[in-house]
Amino acid sequence: MQFVCFHLMPWPYLPADFEQRHDSAWLDLPNTLYDPSRGHALYNEYLDQLVAAERLGFDVIGVNEHHQNAYGLMPSPNIMAASLIQRTSRIKVLVLGNALPLYDHPQRVAEELAMLDVLSNGRLITGMVVGLGVEAFTYEINPTFIRERYREAHELIVRAWTEPGPFHFEGKHYDFRWVNVWPRPIQQPHPPIWIPGSGSMETIRFVAERRYPWIALPYSQFDVMKEHFDMLREYAATHCGYDVPPAQIGWPAMIYVGETDRQAREEFEPHFWYLAKKGLRLPREYMFPPGHTSVESQLRPSHVKRKFISLLSSWQEAEEGTYAIVGSAETVRQKLREGIKAAGCGIIQGIFQVGSMPHDLTMRSMERFARDVMPALRAEFP
């Protein structure tokens, strides 16, 4: 079992009447709501939390990429990774960006990730993402080309890392006469690639064919996520001729460990709703521009059945759907144990700081998790 301590780096200071005044925390949320001075302190707290994860015994620390929003303040995850690499020595660093289709120059992504791999002496795990639908608006990228651009950029980057340069990459969307990445990555044949995804058939096929670890997205019912894991297993077995090992399946879970179940819920719940109702406030049309998710995927029953976290109306509903793992150490152990068995996963991507959760609560929960939960699960799921 690999334990990831993952961070979204949210903006926790949206005003109480935010929902009454704004339809979205993304794209057109006025950036005057962001205060750079508080932002400075916040970045440092968030980085401290991830650095602490090395001392606490996690295997991986992770960051991701999102744009123009209060949900996550990392338009460039590579910059965060560079900072983390300098402040850690053993732990692996996961960059669950870059959003390849957003860039007209995927060579830049290949270069920066290679830099991080060399800088960290091979501690980098890369992610390659399509980007959320709303991010097609951010950079005016035609969403009907996003999947094609993603595949082409991915191929270009992997080839740039593995084939001697210079060579000519000839594609439909990208054509570079001089692919010649300096520096080359230190890990051979190339840094590991993990792919997050919301469960579209396009992504499931893509990861199955390449045997990439696949990390689900954390904001729908556990059962829907599990269906997607089953689809990956079934597709790999029937079309690619192999059984997906647990190490290829990642369960992203918001986790909070308190002293008791009751105290845990009291401490966690306000921050959960901050995330659900503020940070993830996002109109449907922003989320699903045409072409970003294929018509086939949109018509699939699991897509229709999925209840996005922002639509929840009670804590009971959140608990029943296992949107978060919250409780005493014993409860969290038990819930994770059941989930790991059901999901068949070998990666737990824990999200500890959630929404507006302050530093001290986050650290205490992480420490309890590292002391009272992680070792038992390691013993049970080696």
Binding site: N142, P143, T144, P283, P289, P290, G291, V295, L299
Partner: protein, 258 residues
């Protein structure tokens, strides 16, 4: 009278075509949202043979993967005209179809007789905002498209939820529209600067209350195309052929009289 539905093969792909009436041919190039025979087509078909080819990716038409942008749709439309036996025709385009019609007249003047542009996309005027229909939910879309957003017509053409049997076509139509209409700033700028090259006699019809493509964008067509005339319809939004079919058809038929 109702249009008959047929299919022609263009480059091996099936293209859905509605047609009706007799008389001089009129090629109707549809917009991004309504790609079927409407009452206005009956009115136009009283004096013309009206052809309504459905663009690739919309309705039952194949070949979306061949369309990367407007230039591909222009070439495709030439092939459709060939398949329909139209060496030359009067061309009427609404919205997206109006942009297509203007590009066709600009690039292939021999194929276009007279030109009618109804609330046509394709022009750009500094300072005139073009709201983004792809960011709009159904209620906001009705506000942008219709002079009367609460009318039965508005609810019929832009329902809150498409009926189940039309859902897949509606999703595919949105995708086909986004392929052509996502980042249009550069192509619109170029077309606007080239309008002086259009030779076809041109009528521009615009809904005075078009909130999607406001009237100054129609005035840009009138200013740019030599000899063009602009007719503005009051109490009308982005869709004159559907919101005001009689007034619209009368203007068009008068303009197209030999």
């Amino acid at each position: 009278m109702a249009g008959s539905e047929t299919s022609v093969k263009v480059g091996g792909r099936a293209i859905q075509v509605f047609a009706g009436g007799t008389g001089a041919p009129l090629l109707y190039l549809h917009g991004a949202g309504v790609y079927w025979w409407m009452p206005v087509h009956d009115l136009l078909a009283a004096r013309h043979r009206v052809h309504v080819p459905v663009h690739p990716g919309f309705g039952a038409s194949e070949g979306f993967e061949e369309i990367e942008g407007m230039d591909d749709l222009v070439f495709h439309t030439l092939d459709v005209m060939d398949a329909l036996g139209l060496a030359r025709a009067d061309v009427l385009g609404l919205s997206l179809g109006g942009w297509l019609a203007a590009e066709l007249a600009l690039r292939h003047p021999d194929r276009v007789g007279r030109l009618v542009l109804a609330d046509a996309a394709g022009t750009r005027v500094p300072g005139v905002e073009r709201p983004d229909l792809f960011m709009a939910g159904p209620a906001r879309a009705r506000e942008l498209l219709f002079a009367d957003p609460g009318s039965p017509l508005a609810r019929q053409l832009v329902p809150d939820v498409p009926p189940p049997e039309r859902l897949e076509a509606a999703l595919r139509g949105r995708e086909a529209a986004a392929r052509l209409l996502w980042n249009t700033a550069v192509p619109y700028r170029k077309l606007t600067s080239r309008l002086g090259r259009i030779k076809a006699p041109t009528l521009v019809v615009w809904g005075a209350e078009d909130r999607l493509l406001p009237l100054p964008l129609g005035e840009a067509y009138r200013r740019g195309i030599p000899g063009a005339r602009l007719e503005t319809l009051d109490r009308c939004g982005h869709l004159p052929p559907f919101e005001q079919p009689e007034r619209f058809a009368r203007l068009v038929l008068d303009f197209l009289q030999p």
